[in-house]
Amino acid sequence: MKTLRSKLMLSIIAAAVALAASSAAMAFTACQVTDTGGIDDNSFNQTAWKGVLDAMEDFGVEGRFLESQAETDYEANINSLIDGDCDIIVTVGFLLGDATQKAATANPDQPFSIVDFAYDPQIDNVLGQVYATDQAAFLAGYLAAGMSKTKILGTFGGINIPPVTIFMDGFVKGADYWNAQKGDAVEVLGWSVADREGLFTNNFDNLDDGRAFAQNLYDEGADIVLPVAGPVGLGSATLADELGIDRLKIIGVDADLYFTDSERQHVYLTSITKRMDATVRAVIERTMQGSFEGGLLVGTLENGGVDLAPFHDMDALVPDELKAELAALRAGIIDGSISVSD
């Protein structure tokens, strides 16, 4: 019995080893290092990974990813991809900025691209992907101000870093713009544009925090909440699901959460989409064509890099007049007649 068992085990191992040795392929390989929060966060990391998936489908490239479980993993993860024959390494997130810079400087022949980070001065083998998220967030703030019954909105962020606070800036300024236009007094809790201070969970992975922060904002009277913290916002959506959308609505970020968070899709008024999938795909395409260059790729309302998602189930709740105003606002932001930055 024992010998039989050990022989069986040996043969399984041998078969597996033989199979493994025969499956090596040579193709363009795009590699991605995620931030903490995970590749399946329905939001930030997942959207960026979708860009690789799209490229795999459209151009037949190979894709690999490495999940960072802690900030200590960033450098090690990037390093282990440098050995792994990646044609381009895409690092996802502002927090990987230092690690990416270090790796790019040490390996000047390896093309890198980083989401949410712009180097000054630029590094020749790094293409930064940044987004004018405040343009879309401005629209969301205007919309939310127009939709709020309590005249109080709420927002909170993951960590107080520019790619997060740019959502909150736009949101607050959009609500302010509504107040200025309508002589209204809608208040936004959770972020002060002038002080650069506000509500932050200090992580991008704790769903309980998302619930607790949304509950606090709701208790303070907010009926629409914008969580800017990747998967943390899913906890806020759960609360909205339990309270009902009459009492609390959520605005999603990064992806159109109506689709990625399909179980709770009815709680999302809209989403501020940041099309990292489109820019990541574009970077892979450029690199494949041999036209990779260091510098910046900026997503705006105009080029579709950022946008406001459709209202989906809540479409009927949004008055036509407000929709028309949003369309005008959008055109104004694109042609520059309305500034979102002051």
Partner: protein, 374 residues
């Protein structure tokens, strides 16, 4: 006192039983865990060739190249350092869950000291930063020891609570002007100046090799911990209190002082682990820089049977799993979570040596059954 007893007290009992305990059981546990890990992969729909590929990657990523060895040792150093501290605590009968918090405090103190000594030469700045880390860890763990000695508050509870406090303290302190990086609004510390960095050892071969001088710190501390535990009076007092606190008290050992000292030494080693991370690997402190080292180190200390040499090997094994696990993700696309499962399975098997002996009967001395003894 019989010679065996004498040897046992001195911790030199390397007999047949210990070889079984220290070598065979962990080895078989590793095999069993890898096998169960493969079953988990099959259950989650991973095909056989990918499983084979992932195990090849595990070996390749942990020992298969210079870079792999460098990564293994880089990951092992903090685990061994913190694990040594926990092992000392366990020997003294203290179940210290607070290594994570002590790692954080040690790392933070090393950052503060390192940044303050930016203008000093490395011979002063580096030792000062390392010692600051050890002292901060010792102080933080000493709080729990003092609470235990003075009020009887159980160290399991107080160290868990001190962990929670340390997380928030880190978030807060990282945003104070003394520590926060200039021009940043998020919690991130200033960078460690070059003088206080643990120098990287192999960058002349390849700038990506991360192995740093912390590996010497790790080896030195293994020797120190061994000496402390088995050759010093203090170590004898730790072990005597751990074996039987009441007997130790009647033997004239100051129980309260022993608890505080044991916790402080454990905390100093965990603090060194934190200093090792910020000075050698990260170059700065950020929220979550401790990355669960203090908790993994509990497993390392248990796996190493609370023996300094055992802790060294267990730490290197865990380092190898971490480095190899990364390669598994790269080569085979297998989730890093699987490595966590394998680590947990190893611990489960180690904790149940009888189960291991039942599955793998080879190499164990036949023990007489009770009937035969009668």
């Amino acid at each position: 006192m019989s010679t065996e007893m004498n040897q046992a007290v001195q911790g030199r009992l390397i007999g047949r039983n210990q070889i079984e305990d220290l070598v065979l059981v962990p080895l078989y546990a590793l095999v069993a865990a890898l096998f169960l890990g493969a079953l988990v992969m099959i259950a989650t729909g991973v095909d056989l060739s990918t499983i084979g590929q992932s195990f090849i990657a595990l070996v390749r990523g942990s020992v298969g190249s210079l870079n792999a060895l460098s990564e293994t040792l880089t990951a092992a150093a903090p685990l061994v350092l913190a694990g040594l501290g926990l092992a000392l605590g366990f020997r003294a009968g203290l179940f210290n869950i607070g290594a994570e918090g002590q790692v954080i405090m040690g790392g933070l103190a090393a950052v503060v000291a390192g940044v303050a000594m930016a203008d000093m030469p490395a011979v002063i700045a580096l030792p000062a930063a390392i010692i600051a880390g050890a002292l901060a860890g010792a102080f933080y763990a000493g709080i729990a020891g003092w609470l235990r000695a003075a009020t009887g508050a159980h160290e399991v509870i107080s160290t868990i609570m001190l962990n929670l406090i340390s997380y928030r303290l880190l978030d807060y302190l990282l945003r104070t002007p003394l520590i926060q990086k200039e021009g940043r609004a998020d919690p991130i510390s200033k960078s460690i100046p070059e003088a206080a960095e643990l120098p990287r050892l192999l960058t002349f071969i390849d700038p990506n090799l991360r192995l740093h001088a912390g590996v010497f710190l790790m080896l030195a501390m293994v020797v120190v911990a061994y000496w402390l535990l088995f050759r010093s009076k203090m170590g004898f007092e730790f072990r005597a209190s751990g074996e039987n606190a009441i007997a130790a008290r009647f033997a004239g050992i100051n129980a309260g002082l022993t608890i505080v000292l044991a916790m402080a030494v454990a905390g100093a080693l965990a603090g060194l682990a934190g200093a090792n991370q910020v000075l050698g690997v990260l170059g700065r402190a950020t929220p979550g820089f401790s990355a669960g080292i203090g908790f993994d180190a509990i497993a390392v200390a248990l796996l190493g049977r609370s023996h300094p040499v055992g802790v060294l090997f267990a730490g290197v094994l865990f380092g190898a799993l971490e480095a190899g696990g990364r390669q598994m993700q790269v080569d085979a696309g297998v989730s890093i979570d699987l490595i966590g499962i394998i680590q947990a399975l190893i611990i489960v098997f180690i904790a149940a040596p009888l189960l291991v002996k039942a599955i793998f009967p080879w190499g164990f001395r036949r023990t007489r059954s009770k009937e035969e003894e009668v």
